[in-house]
Amino acid sequence: MKNWFKNIDSNLIRLLVITMIVFIIMAALVPSKFLTMRNIESMSFQFPELGLLSIAIMITMLTGGIDLSVVGIANLSGIFMALIFTKVIPEGTSGFPMFLYIIMGIIVGVSTGAFAGYLNGLLIAKVGITPILATLGTMQLFTGMAVVITKGFAISGFPEAFLIIGNSKILFVSFPLFIFILTTAGISILLSKTSLGINLYLIGTNEKAAVFSGIKKSQVLIKSYMLSGILGGITGVIMIARTNSAKADYGSSYVLQAILVSVLGGVNPAGGFGKVIGVVIAVLALQFLSSGFSMLRFSNFAKEFIWGAFLLFIMVLNFVQNRKAAKNIVKKEDSK
């Protein structure tokens, strides 16, 4: 387990190479469909949701925890926004007032994420519940709240202006992708250049030592879960904008997929290691596989099979390569 994450950079490069190979294979198999602008665009609308959720999971994994409630948060945020868009906005609003309402809706959505994350943080850092259990509980709670509000039905019918976020382009790039790039860049900078980011990595590496060295563990943990929640909220925005509907249990399989993407991207679930770029590459890999297989008429279930196989394949590959690398170092020592 130790060796697995020591050679993380070479693992990242390997992942990148494999991702490109996947792209090339898909392009070769169905060139008429895969290599089209249409497909590239379509993919760019789809993967940001999973991408954002994976980054959210990554942040909490870095501290040695996990946020299983992140999809529940996205759905709950979506539902609160949906309520505003369908129940609060008066009939016939348009133009600037509509714009303001939309902004208000988005703020509500993202804030929901922040509050939900704060609750997670409190439960984990102050009450002391282990992250898996705490977020399991809150996942049920948030989804449960969403079910109570919607009684199981979907809410739809959002303003046109809002739907732009999920369905149009901004400067040649799809809006969701645009949001994804901005957010990812922001998180990347936060993780590598701010003290919060470095503290996150350190807590995940050795919680006890982190406390002893003066890091305010509770504060950092709460902030990390709030960040995860905020990302969940942003995902909610994109999700409901794209589908024009908000449901209590949309995307329930996203959680496991997001975990898969994170781990694929090199994040150590025990904490302390992982790079944003790795997660980005991993989510692209999964998107290529997914789109490609759709075009090859693979069923969704075949995709599930392939993802599982892909994950295991990469793990075994890294394991074998890392062992070889260690043996090579020993060989070098011998020849000296």
Partner: protein, 333 residues
């Protein structure tokens, strides 16, 4: 040299007693709001509901005690169920239930061994490995084996769902009884308890969860222990799958997957530590009872079913929260 005190039973099994108390208290509350709760029909129904989750929970318990997590067991369960049913219908439709269960269990063992290979070879955490294997197994099932619901299950499976004992005749002439599945569940629970307590490999499971390095140093073959653990999980999952479809009277390949986290929650609620080394079969069983009680009794109390998830979430948080706070207090932090 030194005289030390012994830990009393109450202290050692405090968590289990607390959960038992909660179950009793909850039952009394529900019963006082709706006396139908105490009806024999309801009790039998509740107990029957614990069977599937219980069988899965026994397996999850083994993995958690050894210090790891497995989330592929539901995929294994549904795979075994579907494959075995189809196989039986094709080759020997008149097969008895015992044979069917054994076949399903065997397939489960083999699938469990796949998990063991990766976990002991890659030394990767179970969560990740079983994420992969679970997806693969389910994906394989739905892609290459079939997506159609089996509506005509082998006769013995249908018959199995009807076998009951402790039968009572109700007012309206119907006979209701406790499903034999419950007996199977409890019998297996006892078996697992005995294996964990009276065999060396059983103690090794606890040892592994307590200190992995020490387990290797003392001379245990960790790989063997892991094959034992994941093989058993597979076997139990296979049984659970057959039992589930038997109760449902159909074989739906889309069932079961999605309930893993609830099962783990039940086991942990019952006092099994998520970091390993601590926990009892009794506690895991109690955890299942508690979760089933909550799931099935909200309606009795007049809480609409769409409140279920939220209530479960709150209960998980309250119980794990109070355990966590208690531990903090005892550590003097």
């Amino acid at each position: 040299m030194k005289i030390s005190e012994s830990g009393s039973m109450l202290k050692r099994f405090r968590h289990e007693f607390i959960i038992l108390a909660i179950i009793v208290v909850l039952s009394i509350i529900i019963g006082s709001i709706n006396s139908q709760f105490y009806s024999i029909g309801n009790i039998y129904s509740l107990l029957k509901s614990t069977v599937i989750m219980g069988l899965f929970a026994l397996g999850s318990f083994l993995v958690l005690v050894s210090g790891d997590i497995d989330i592929s067991f539901t995929a294994i369960g549904v795979f075994c169920m579907y494959v075995t049913s189809k196989l039986v219908l094709l080759v020997m439709p008149g097969a008895g239930i015992v044979l069917i269960m054994l076949v399903a269990g065997l397939i489960g063992v083999l699938l469990g061994f796949i998990n063991a290979v990766f976990i002991s070879l890659l030394k990767m955490p179970g969560l990740i490995v079983t994420l992969g294997t679970g997806s693969m197994i389910r994906g394989f099932l739905l892609t290459f084996i079939g997506v159609r619901i089996i509506n005509k299950l082998p006769d013995s499976m249908i018959a199995f769902s009807k076998i009951t004992f402790l039968n009572r005749v109700q007012e309206n002439g119907h006979i209701i009884g406790l499903s034999i599945g419950f007996v199977v569940f409890i019998a297996l629970a006892i078996l697992i308890y005995l294996a964990l307590k009276y065999t060396v490999i059983g103690r090794a499971v606890y040892a592994l969860g307590g200190d992995r390095v020490a387990t290797a140093r003392v001379g245990f073959n960790i790989t063997k222990v892991q094959f034992f653990i994941y093989g058993t999980v597979g076997f139990l999952s296979g049984l659970a799958g057959i039992t589930h479809s038997s109760f449902m009277r159909n074989g739906n390949p889309f069932d079961l997957v999605g309930t893993e986290l609830s099962v783990i929650a039940a086991v942990v609620l019952g006092g099994t530590s998520i970091t390993g080394g601590k926990g009892t079969v009794f506690g895991a069983v109690l955890g299942v009872f508690l979760l089933v009680l909550i799931n099935n009794s909200l309606i009795m109390v007049g809480i609409p079913s769409y409140w279920q998830r939220a209530v479960i979430g709150i209960i998980i948080l309250l119980s794990t929260g109070s355990v966590a706070l208690q531990e903090r207090r005892s550590q003097g932090v």
